[in-house]
Symmetry: C2
Subunit: 384 residues, 2 copies
């Protein structure tokens, strides 16, 4: 069950939003975005009117908006055999954390995660009524050989969960193998079976692997979740509005590419910006700055007319302490309030994403269920 | 410096709000509110059209609304010699916690609080740019004799703080002594020097002491903050909408009384409802239910046309742990989002209010300052 969105919290007004978009336009036209190691992407953008020099692409915001709005679905179905999640309505859906190399288990042991942990996490997501998806790459199954790990993970989802799955972005080959295994190789307008997490590499770059995965996923008719994950002061300007302007440029290119490869294919997008600690050389998750960036980022993405991603209970804390709740709430509240369509990393996250904590996942799942009950108020109105 | 309010988060729609108000009307007309030990309050309400039987008062919601809206200021100044807080604008102001019998100090000692602790807390509030007031009764000064404690506290505020002060509600005599000491005995329309925390005693009762203090404060031209502080399942119905309907009845009576005693006198109001744990026989602060009740309560109070109180970082946690942040954020976020004019208990609170923790107060003050910077965005738009 999803959460019904209430009134969205509009941090920025129209004038402020347009100032950021104007800066994005300036960045796109004057500096451009670098697309590495995928000549087809350069060619297809040049055909669409971009100025291509080497791997640098310059194209105005208006052109990219026109490409996106010509064919990208405002709302699409993310499907498993047994269930469908309709993204881009007035509901907010939740997906679990993604990408943890380590696990903390019930017995408090902290170690590299194993395939048995992976199965446990998938089952947790399956059992939770609030999780729309069982995600993918919940943690790294270190005991499975790398060559077959992506397939083992997918099978765990297909065997243990009835919910829609994300996809792999390990490589083009892995993506294709997973798509075949999931029977997800055909394009049906307004639908997808796999949703791939494609991140740009700020500043203003797409590396070849995510770019190739973006292309192949789109060609296979599968969805992409295009995000710029910025560290302010390191991979983007130190001020968050300038960061958002940069990230929006990256996301516009990525989202437009999906539609050039396969008009009508499912695409969602997100903007994420967190301060970078120069002392620790680490991102600082869940600060007030990233709360603001999330609120504003969701407003900007909603203007593209495609579903929007938010982030959930993410934190730099190493254990489930006051820091974890303080930071996690800063992020989750922003995503909910601004009206994200899908909230990723909504449960289990610790330590800048380097650890999934099973007890915390259980707590987080219960918490989000509580939010659902909060927002679905109708049954409280059984008054005379 | 206050926090500029953004778009308010409207949890309930007009139909839902009217359902609650209709239930309030039913409660006021059919059950009534008991006003204990203050015959003048009964007489003045009878003159205003109420049906009085013993200490029970019945009067429709429309009559109370008419009394309030005829004279209660939509906005009023809360003044000290050096500064003025204008409540009821689009700014949210903060006041510290109120009423702790115990203190946890920097050295982690936990004990009954002393007057030296009181002075430390007042200085903290004075030094924090985000605190609008240094509050009152921040903790109990156990080493000062009860007879003079209220005056000793006031003097601490007058000597150590330049900010507006709340007032005492210990007794009529104490209130008058503090008002004289604070040179706060004259009525000036749209102004007050002291703001008194007057709580009803749910269900549907005002005890004699708060009632007498409400009357005397109003007669002296000083402000009241009328709140129903409900424990759902113990002192109000277990469902929060029925609780809100009950609390609104209590607050309407209290707010109307201030205007009958002194038309135009400063009054603000709040609704607070927290679940009551039957196992622990204690309120459970900061739950999702009280988050919702706060959001809806602020909406209801705003419709009275007077400034609205919210609550801040309150929790049932005994130390500054994940529970403290989880619960505190549930409350603070609701108060901010719904647009409270003044947020009480915004810093230092632990253990259902039975402890003020100095380190936590420092943390909370910094946190709220962060929120202020979040919402005051203009300086981030220094773009070309």
């Amino acid at each position: 069950m999803p959460v019904k969105q209430g009134t969205h919290y509009a941090l920025l007004d129209e004038v402020q939003l347009q100032k950021i978009e104007a800066m994005t336009d300036l960045i796109l036209k004057d500096i451009g975005v670098t697309l590495k190691g995928d000549p087809l992407s350069l060619a297809i953008l040049e055909l669409a009117g971009a100025i291509v020099e080497g791997e640098n692409v310059r194209i105005g915001r208006a052109s990219l908006m026109a490409i996106i709005q010509a064919s990208a679905p405002k709302s699409f179905s993310w499907k498993s055999l047994e269930s469908t999640v309709q993204l881009g309505t007035d509901e907010t859906y939740f997906a679990p954390m993604f990408g943890a190399p380590n696990i903390r288990r019930h017995d408090n042991s902290y170690t590299q995660s194993q395939f048995s942990d992976y199965q446990t996490l998938v089952k947790h997501c399956e059992d939770s009524p609030i999780m729309a998806s069982s995600g993918y790459l919940l943690c790294i199954a270190h005991d499975i050989p790398e060559k077959v790990r992506h397939i083992a993970m997918l099978r765990a989802h297909l065997e243990l969960s009835t919910k829609p799955v994300m996809g792999t972005v390990l490589s083009e080959i892995a993506l294709q193998e997973v798509a075949i295994e999931a029977n997800a190789t055909e394009f049906h307008p307004g639908e997808c079976k796999l949703l791939h997490m494609i991140n740009s590499t700020p500043p203003l770059t797409f590396q070849s692997n995510p770019l190739q995965c973006l292309r192949l996923a789109s060609q296979l008719g599968q969805g992409c979740l295009v995000t710029s994950y910025m560290m302010m002061g390191a991979t983007s300007p130190v001020t968050f509005f300038a960061s958002l302007a940069q990230g929006l440029a990256e996301v516009l290119i990525g989202a437009a590419l999906t539609q050039l490869y396969q008009p009508g294919v499912a695409v969602a997008a997100g903007l994420f910006a967190t301060p970078f600690s120069m002392r620790k050389m680490l991102p600082a998750f869940g600060t007030m700055e990233s709360h603001v960036a999330m609120l504003a980022g969701i407003q900007l993405i909603k203007r593209l007319g495609i579903p929007c991603r938010g982030d959930g209970l993410i934190t730099s804390a190493k254990t489930h302490d006051s820091q974890a709740e303080f930071e996690g709430n800063n992020m989750l509240s922003a995503s909910l309030l601004a009206g994200a369509d899908i909230i990723l990393h909504s449960a289990g996250w610790l330590e800048n994403g380097r650890c999934v904590d099973i007890k915390k996942m259980e707590f987080d799942l219960q918490y989000i269920e509580g939010i659902q009950q909060k927002v679905n108020l109708d049954h409280h109105f059984l008054l005379p």
